[in-house]
């Protein structure tokens, strides 16, 4: 199945892309996608304990199981205001 990945701020800079698509096995979680990305872009790995994650524009935990067509977002620590 295929998911869309959204990256923001510093994470986007590290990967050099705001949006990616990735094919993942059924049963994959947000964490599965994160580990795949972190192996592609080693600079991301340092963010593992600091990121927040979302699926289809709702906050979700790393163990959330994904469905085909889901949009997964990885969010570095926020700094609005």
């Amino acid at each position: 199945m295929r998911v869309t990945v959204r990256l923001f701020a510093r994470l986007r800079d590290i990967a050099g892309a705001a949006e990616l698509t990735r094919d993942v096995a059924p049963g994959s979680t947000i964490g599965t996608v994160w580990r795949q990305l972190a192996s592609e872009y080693p600079g991301l790995a340092a963010y593992e304990q600091a990121i927040s994650t979302a699926v289809n524009a709702d906050y979700a935990r790393m163990d959330r199981v994904l469905g085909d067509g889901d949009e997964v977002a990885f969010l570095p620590p926020v700094s609005g205001g």
Binding site: D13, S52, A54, Y59, P76, V78, S79, G80, G81
Partner: protein, 164 residues
Amino acid sequence: MSTPLLAIGPGPLELERIAASLASSAGQAAGVDGAVVTFLGLVRDHNLGRRVRYLEYEAYEPLALKAFERIASEIATRWPDTRLALHHRVGRLAIGDASVAIATRSPHRANAYAACRYAIERVKQIAPIWKREFFDGGDVWIEGATADPDAADARAEAERIACA
């Protein structure tokens, strides 16, 4: 066109209109409110010893709006007579520009003040918005809190600050 209570986008912030949007909210009898408190966050020309030239704000906009809705809902629970309007700007902002505008309206000033302070603290905790600071000699993404809207300790801390 009426001004929405909650919004995020590139346009300049109009605090008067945002505050006025609370007056016309449905379900509120005219005349019951005795206080409006507003907050305007501005782009400052210095940060951590650096001379700031300008900022660029980026957001995951659909999730940011949901975060604003969550903050409004938390305020409605904690201060049931108090209502929130909250707008955040994105894109390139010059020194002195407003990045965030908040208005709260209530029968009594104490709740309006507390809810306004609570709202900005929660924006900084849970809204998926980032600022990139361009300063003399470089640029850096500012990274604050790891956003976790369910974290009870962060919410309690925002409430403690609001009610101090």
